[in-house]
Amino acid sequence: MAGAVLRRKRYIWREWLTSYLFLLPALAFFLLFVAFPMLKGIYISFFDYTLRDFDFVGLDNFNVLLHDDVFAKSMWNTMLIVLVAVPAVVLFSIFAAMTIYKKSEMQRSFFRGVFYLPAVSSVVSITVVWASIYHPNYGILNYITSLFGAEPIGWLGDTRTALLAIILVLITTSVGQPIILYVASLGNIPTSYIEAAQIDRASAGQIFRKIIWPMLMPTNLYIIVITTINTFQVFAIIQLLTSGGPMYATSTVMYGVYEQAFMLGSFGLASAMGVVLAVVIGIISVIQFKYLGSDVEY
């Protein structure tokens, strides 16, 4: 009896050890390249860390941010981008996926490829194309508007249009993955549910609201959380298209981090910005999990 218990314990121990040993390579990478830099970033945020100094300053960096108008503007811009871009990406992706998933396999593959292309293309290349579209003197957008008698607009150089122009670029580069995922999820919804609803004469809107949308909730959660996080961290498009201008109209927290750290060499202040952004993303992610979490399995 005692021998059997011992064998059982050894078995459990070996199972435990084996599973953790398999987990260890990924865990090691995570700890080294994600957790450690993250903790180090939090640590640095309490220091005046410049090219010359590394002095402990407590919460001074956060206090500076609290009174910094440019940081406040950047945070506001970041929130605005998230508030506009995330719903737009989700809605457009669902719309595109609903249109695509009923088509033949060949057509589905074609459209998936078309929408996914920006996701696998270099952000720099995409941005160069958009810069030429938005060019104030020779851009195609101004050419089109001029056909209707409009005066040329500096899309990226006008405080009224710059942020919207950035959001549009962001949306086009963000919809690829959500469309692929939604097409896959829509394909997994049992057709019998929809057929039953159709027999009961449910309208297309009712079918979407009562069957499709709830069944998409797990995918929605993933897409909303990931898109929100990615949108909070938008940087390359802004750096390449506007450098945060005009007059900080497109400056975001991530651009501020870049500017403070890599252009001004204020790594402590930049880390503090990163910490604030991480906290905001964390809070919003928790809220999203709480209200969008679903037990639906299919």
């Binding site: 070996r14 199972e15 050890l17 084996t18 040993l21 398999f22 260890l24 390579p25 090691a28 990478f29 080294l32 860390y49 410049t50 090219l51 010359r52 938005y134 060019h135 104030p136 003197n137 020779y138 040329p152 500096g154 899309w155 990226l156 150089g157 006008d158 405080t159 710059a162 506007t242 450098s243 201008g245 005009p246 007059m247 900080y248 870049y258 500017e259 750290a261 890599f262 252009m263 001004l264 060499g265 790594f267």
Partner: protein, 478 residues
């Protein structure tokens, strides 16, 4: 059987983990090497004396000193590409250097003007700065103020000291010590597409018949109007305010139009918020609306405007020099003659031109042997009888040495030599300069977009910049 499977599984897992750890540890090792840890090959040469090495830079290396030293040289594309390959000239230069100094191994890394400054900041902050850098005073003097560089006074001979203008030394020194070895220069100016003026029959509106080509704001306005009236496909003048790149063009343009300095004489406060400069900025905002100055300047970078000029779509570019002219020659997308001009001034007084100044510096990586070897490299690049002149020409610039002239058989270079008389001290060596320049273009945008008058924008800039200067001075005094 199950136990055997588990053993195999455990073995695979341990192997994977070992590989991961090995890969990570070799990464870390690489970083430490870059950081110039003592104890490596270079570190063992710590006893070498940098001063001696510099003094003997022109002598053949002595056998007892010939211990191998490895140094890293990060270079912006200072030299024009050879056969279209960036960095090829540098490799030839290192090969020639090694023929003379076989004991010094030079690791070259080319960096770009776009990402290079950021890469340098990260490298410095993580103790992995290169040993040698060829750059401009803006960054070099900032590093010197932060005690990151090795002084170079011991390698500046009396002859060299006396052959270079004080204005250049002022930009190469901090606290009486030399931290940048100045090599090449060229005054930043404007350029005009002369072909456009020939086509519209308005060549007489340009000051090209005057030996020093100086001209007034009013003359400039007439030239712009002529382009607008007679060449509707050509934008009369360029301007840009998207980002920091090329900001010397925008500040020199406004400073000359408004006959103002950018900062005061001792770089302790902003001086460009004068009434004249504010009026010039108001004119600029209005000219942008009237399509005399390029539309959308708030979203255009210096490079965008330069592209328009090279495409023949712009009559005046406000950021040009003999060096840029040489670099731009193969990039032209249209056939036209580009001619250098000084910035016009409100009252016809002599213009004040900021110089491009290029020079080399050495990061103090706590390794005397590396510092000594780096000095040999700098001395070779600047003063070698064959490669010194060759390298200078490869930059497309003029020599900082008064005694070295006539390097090029080109009238624009001849004019550039003449225009050296207009060179003024730039604000790049001011305390807090890196932060000052971040306030410049948002205020220009504010004025161009009509959200502030020229005076309000320049005063707004002055308030923030003066605060940054005061903070930087206080920090330096710590």
């Amino acid at each position: 059987m199950a136990a055997r499977k588990r053993r195999i599984a455990s073995f695979i897992a341990i192997s994977l983990m070992t590989m991961v750890m090995a890969a990570c540890s070799s990464n870390n090792g690489g970083t430490k090497d870059n950081a110039g840890e003592p104890g490596n090959a270079a570190g063992s040469n710590k006893a070498a004396n940098s001063a001696n090495a510099a003094g003997e830079a022109n002598k053949e290396p002595e056998p007892e000193q010939a211990k191998p030293v490895e140094i890293t040289w990060w270079n912006f594309p200072t030299y024009q590409p050879v056969d279209g390959e960036v960095g090829k000239y540098e490799k030839q230069l290192i090969e020639a250097f090694n023929a003379k100094y076989p004991d010094v191994k030079v690791n070259l890394e080319m960096i770009t003007f776009d990402g290079g400054p950021q890469k340098l900041n990260v490298a410095i902050a993580t103790n992995s700065a290169p040993d040698v850098i060829y750059d401009a005073p803006g960054r070099i003097i900032d590093w010197a103020k932060k005690d990151l560089l090795a002084p170079l006074d011991d390698m500046v001979t009396g002859e060299v000291r006396g052959d270079i203008a004080d204005a250049f030394w002022k930009q190469s020194m901090v606290g009486g010590k030399t931290y940048m070895y100045p090599i090449n220069t060229a005054p930043f100016m404007m350029a005009v597409n002369k072909t456009v003026f020939e086509k519209i029959g308005a060549l007489d509106l340009l000051p090209l018949d005057r030996p020093d080509r100086t001209w007034t704001f009013d003359e400039y306005k007439k030239a712009l109007q002529a382009v607008k009236d007679k060449a509707p496909d050509v934008i009369p003048s360029g301007f840009y305010a998207k980002s920091q790149a090329g900001d010397q063009g925008t500040r020199a343009y406004l400073a000359n139009l408004g006959v103002s300095r950018f900062l005061n004489e001792d770089n302790s406060a902003v001086a460009i918020n004068s009434d004249n400069a504010a009026a010039a900025l108001d004119w600029l905002a209005q000219a942008s609306k009237e399509k005399i100055v390029v539309n959308g300047a708030a979203s255009l970078a210096a490079g965008d405007v330069n592209d328009l000029f090279l495409q023949g779509k712009l009559a005046f570019s406000i950021n040009y020099s003999a060096v840029l002219r040489a670099q731009n020659a193969p990039l032209k997308k249209a056939e036209f003659e580009d001619v250098l001009l000084p910035f016009p001034t409100l009252d016809g007084s002599k213009p004040k031109l900021e110089p491009y100044l290029g020079g080399m510096a050495i990061f103090n990586n706590d390794d005397e042997a590396k510092v000594a070897a780096s000095k040999k490299l700098i001395d070779f690049i600047a003063n070698d009888p064959e490669w010194g002149k060759k390298s200078l020409i490869q930059t497309g610039g003029l020599s900082v040495r008064n005694s070295i002239t006539g390097l090029y058989d080109d009238p624009e270079y001849a004019y550039s030599e003449l225009a050296r008389q207009f060179i003024t001290d730039p604000p790049t060596i001011a305390d807090g300069y890196a932060e000052i320049r971040t306030f410049w273009f948002p205020e220009l945008q504010r004025a161009i977009l009509g959200q502030a008058s020229g005076k309000e924008a320049l005063d707004g800039f002055a308030a923030k910049a003066n605060d940054a200067i005061a903070k930087a001075k206080a920090s330096a005094a710590k």
